[in-house]
């Protein structure tokens, strides 16, 4: 691609300044609001601050403290559980829905795709508000539905069951399922267009059943997109913040059971006022995420090479 672009004849009529003028709004904003804070992030992580003005140099102490901080590890394990939940529950469901949408003679296919995609347009804050209300004790939809339906078979469901108190992670994972299954489905649906019809037919001729066709034809064809979707889910899940913060009313839930990495960063930086410690948490997050991206790229490259 760059080779093609390089072949443009350098027209004498073009001012050498023109590209820089076109780039300047972006470059200025980028330099001020991305590059500079990134450099500051290195400095800040060696400081303890009391609000944005008062700072004190502490060297590597923030990182040492972080390693020994049980709450940080709790945040990590909560985030990891949520991430695994989103990968192993969310993505298979998304792929399943995409496959269902592929079924022959389906009417209203594009309408269905649109409907299932639409929850991802709802902001996390608003979805968190909605699910907070749904999981509410007496007035919530979930308890009322369970009370109504189980009542028919004679089981008395406790209307005061505290979903948000009893099943913290489940609440988060269910809410994120509602938001993102359709979103991920869209990518799988696009990937399924890459499945070669002739290979499927050859497999049918060879007597392969639907299960074997799925593993041997479909999965290899969608693997590149699947890798991308997994990476996106990991990056998104590791930055989980609004969902628990709003659902648990500006807290980390009972017993910090909904504490996530970014929520802990937020608490330290903007409730305690230690921007230095918050930045150290930010670096830990960055290392994890850049690491995951590198691993995914290496895996993808390895597959391309062997294919």
């Amino acid at each position: 691609m760059s080779a093609k672009a390089a072949a443009i004849p350098a027209s004498s009529a073009r001012s050498p300044l023109a590209p820089w003028l076109f780039l300047s709004p972006f470059l200025i904003c980028f330099a001020v609001f991305t590059v500079y804070p990134l450099i500051q992030a290195v400095l800040l992580s060696t400081q303890t601050t009391f609000g944005p003005g008062a700072t004190r140099f502490v060297g590597a102490n923030n990182f040492v403290a972080l390693f020994r901080d049980p709450l940080f590890w709790k945040a990590c394990s909560n985030t990891l559980i949520y991430t695994l939940g989103s990968i192993f529950i969310q993505l298979p469901l998304a792929l399943g829905l995409a496959l269902l949408l592929e079924s022959p003679n389906l009417r209203g296919r594009s309408w269905l795709r649109l409907v299932l995609f639409s929850p991802s347009m709802v902001g996390v804050v608003f979805a968190a508000m909605m699910f907070g209300l749904i999981f509410e004790k007496r007035t919530g939809l979930l308890n009322q539905l369970l009370h109504g339906t189980l009542g028919i078979v004679g089981i008395e469901w406790d209307l005061d069951f505290g979903w948000l108190q009893q099943h913290v992670m489940l609440g988060l994972i269910v809410a994120s399922l509602w938001m993102y299954v359709g979103f991920n489905m869209t990518f799988f649906a696009a990937a399924l267009q890459n499945v070669r019809k002739d290979l499927v037919e050859a497999a049918i001729v060879d007597g392969a059943g639907p299960v074997s066709r799925f593993w041997n034809v479909t999965i290899p064809a969608i693997r590149p997109v699947a890798g991308f979707v997994v990476l996106m889910s990991v990056i998104g899940s590791f930055q989980l913040f609004e969902l628990p913060y709003i659902m648990f009313s500006s807290s980390a839930g009972p017993d910090n059971r909904a504490l996530t990495i970014v929520l802990y960063l937020f608490q330290n930086g903007f409730e305690v006022g230690d921007l230095g410690y918050a930045t150290a948490i930010g670096w830990a997050l960055a290392v994890i995420l850049v690491g995951c991206t590198m691993v995914q790229r290496l895996l993808a490259r390895g597959e391309e090479a062997s294919a």
Partner: protein, 290 residues
Amino acid sequence: MNPQPGLRFTRFTAWLLTRSLLLLAVLITFIPFMWLVAASFKSNEEFFRSTFLPMREGSWAVDWSRLTFDAYKRLFVEVDFGRGLINSIFLSSVTGVLATLCCAMGGYALARFNFKGRGFCTALVLAAVLIPGPLLLAPGYQLLYNLGLLDSFAGLILPAIAPAFGVFLFRQAVLSGVPTDLLEAARIDGAGEWRTFMVVVLPLVRPMIGTFLMITFLGVWNNFIGPQVVLQSPDKFPLSVAVAELKRGYYSDYGLQMAGTVVSILPVMILFLLMQKDFVSGLAAGAVKG
């Protein structure tokens, strides 16, 4: 040819199974939001009497008289939620337009100009996509404090108008959608660089403009952590923060929280339905190609 009866049976089962599973998925998608809308029109006593809409005794007719606009009245009169709506519309559209212009210009420069430093700028854009947002939260806050931009709209808009992935998206759009011959032709006709960009380039990348405007608009509308950190005065809060404030200040007033959430979600849903065609297909195509 008549298929064997057994085959016909499995076909029917498959048909029934796929349709019921899809129906279930659609129901699960709709029910939470439908419930929220219905419940936002209920009085506090009504919450306990009906799950969805209140019904007349012994019939399937909806008893509309038991619904009320009370929560919405309080939302706009007592809490001044309209202010949040205006703030959200303002922040989202201004950021959306500026970011789109900024990224389209940058992407065009990287795609269709030959200049020293292009490789470096492209690498910079690609590397920046890797930086996780939360890392810049604390240093960004400190920067806005030093610039005196805390608690101002500028402090929210300026950092948001230069997303690196936007430049990348427009670079791809220009590479695949703007032929060099056309640019040469415009130049021979005596059009200046800016005119060429406005009249030739922008119309050719229109689908990407639509998609990117929508992405940015939604991103700002749904952004919570930014305004929560930057803004302090309640009259500047966008809906995302205003709705969270409802939960803090009126924690037992479910009707108010529901109405506020409905008012926050509805505009986005309407916008999405108006623009959905380009958006969903553009997004998916980008993923498969990218």
